[in-house]
């Protein structure tokens, strides 16, 4: 059961629904721990004051900001004075169509689950799920978690409310200077490329893609444990751009038949 990271309420007009936030993505990566090579003991990261060279407890740590050369120190308590309502409430500001939100803005997926046993809470929660399902709209709101503001998109997901944090518009870089200049490609080469794409067309089936990297890394760990020598596979050579793009496309099409 994933742990809850935030409790608060989702506010829709004058309706407040107490909710808690839990991740909708799990991290299955293999995590390595830093060890001391000499004795194999785990390394601990500890905080030290650079002036006194003494260990500092987490409660003794504050936030420093360099304001034009002047150091300003803020405590957690002081930071919590910034827009306090937002730290407790996700205010729904608008409803939008999901397809208008480009996936580039999507950051991390979460679930908002009803918090508490009250019948009123669960009914209001269910009302929000049903009304968004029937109108096919997603809600936009904002809230603050751990001294960062998030723009969020809330939409029904498997009978619950899913929440995705979104990037703010200025966190997405402009595309200027990325695409090559020159006119838009057209003609025979594009026609052939379209045929290649059609030949490789498939439905999106996420279950058909396994994390081979994770599996290989697990195998490396197993082999190492057994004392085997680990050898890196030869890296495949980078294909050189076909001297003739047209020929490469035609050969591909011929091979597909």
């Amino acid at each position: 059961m994933p742990r809850t990271l935030w409790n608060g309420s989702l506010s829709f007009g004058l309706v407040n629904v107490p909710v808690s936030l839990t991740s909708a993505a799990r991290d299955l990566d293999l995590h390595f721990r830093q060890l001391h090579g000499k004795d194999g003991a785990p390394i601990e990261q500890r905080r030290f004051c650079s002036k006194e060279d003494e260990e500092v407890e987490w409660e003794e740590v504050a936030h420093g900001y360099d304001l034009d050369g002047k150091q300003v120190v803020l405590t957690d308590l002081e930071l919590s004075l910034v827009q306090p309502r937002k730290t407790r409430t996700i205010d729904i500001e608008a409803f939008v169509d999901l397809e208008d939100v480009d996936p580039i803005y999507f950051d991390h997926p979460w679930y908002l689950v009803p918090y508490g046993e009250s019948e009123g809470t669960r009914r209001a929660y269910r009302l929000l799920v049903e009304v968004m399902e029937s109108t096919d709209r997603a809600a936009l709101g904002r809230f603050v978690m751990r001294t960062k503001e998030y723009l969020v998109l809330v939409r029904p997901r498997e009978g619950l409310l899913g929440l995705t944090t979104l990037l703010f518009h200025d966190e997405v870089r402009p595309t200027k200077g990325i695409a090559p200049g020159g006119r838009k490609a057209s003609g025979k080469k594009v026609d052939q490329a379209v045929k290649v794409i059609e030949g490789l067309a498939a439905d999106w089936d996420p279950d058909s893609y396994e994390d081979c990297y994770r599996k290989r890394l697990e195998r490396v760990v197993r082999d190492k444990k057994k004392g085997k020598t680990i050898k890196a596979p030869e890296e495949r050579e980078q294909p050189q751009p076909a001297p003739d793009l047209m020929e490469a496309l035609e050969q591909t099409l011929a091979a597909m038949k």
Binding site: P18, V82, V190, V194, A248, T252
Partner: protein
Amino acid sequence: MAPKSIWNGTISFGLAAVPIKLYSATESKTVSFNEVHVSDGARIEHKRICSKEGKEVPYKDVVKGYEVSEGEYVVLDKDEVAAAAGSRGKVIELEQFVPEGEIDPIFFEKTYYVGSRDDTEPYRVLLAALERTSTVGIGRFTFHNREYLAAVRNLGGVLALHTMRFHDEIVHADDLDTPRAGKAPGKQEVQMAGQLVESLHRKFKPEDYEDTYREAVFELIKRKAKGEELAPPEPEPEEEPDDLAAALQASLGSR
């Protein structure tokens, strides 16, 4: 300022090779603080301490271990970890093309922009073909010795690459221990909530939503710098109306 590329490689589809460069597409704008010691304002340093000896360990004496059972670690060196990267090297082979819009954005993780390298024609041809077919190319991408599932698509005239989550990394509603569903809302409640949704319906324009919190944090920093006393604001009354229909009615009435 010209963007700086972070990776050079090749996208392939069939036998056609598209020489590319990757660029970061996103950046965090969160106000970042340094950790300081509250009593003297001095910077905090992180030290690596051996849990057995209690002494600081220089970085060169640190190794990476994977815990296979409680307290038992398998130590891997850099090359051994790199061995798991596979043999794809710097080639992103687009193996399948799926219809745009079929992929739930919950799968998208991080985005990069794709630029061309050397010959620009293959890039322009792939872009035009993706546009015409309204598809997204799916392939595998190795970056910093780690392999990702990746989607390559046309983002308004430029190619974008998204790293993707794997299916087993997505949590389903059944995996959660949620309280049982409440009673079905009444017809009138659904109707009023529907009206409220419609009254708040907007076309999504990302520029309409600024991170105002970021600015507010800067304001607080400036006030503190001037030596102002930062006092907590008046607590707001918590409103939690029990009567759902009345709350909806009041919400509709107030606009």
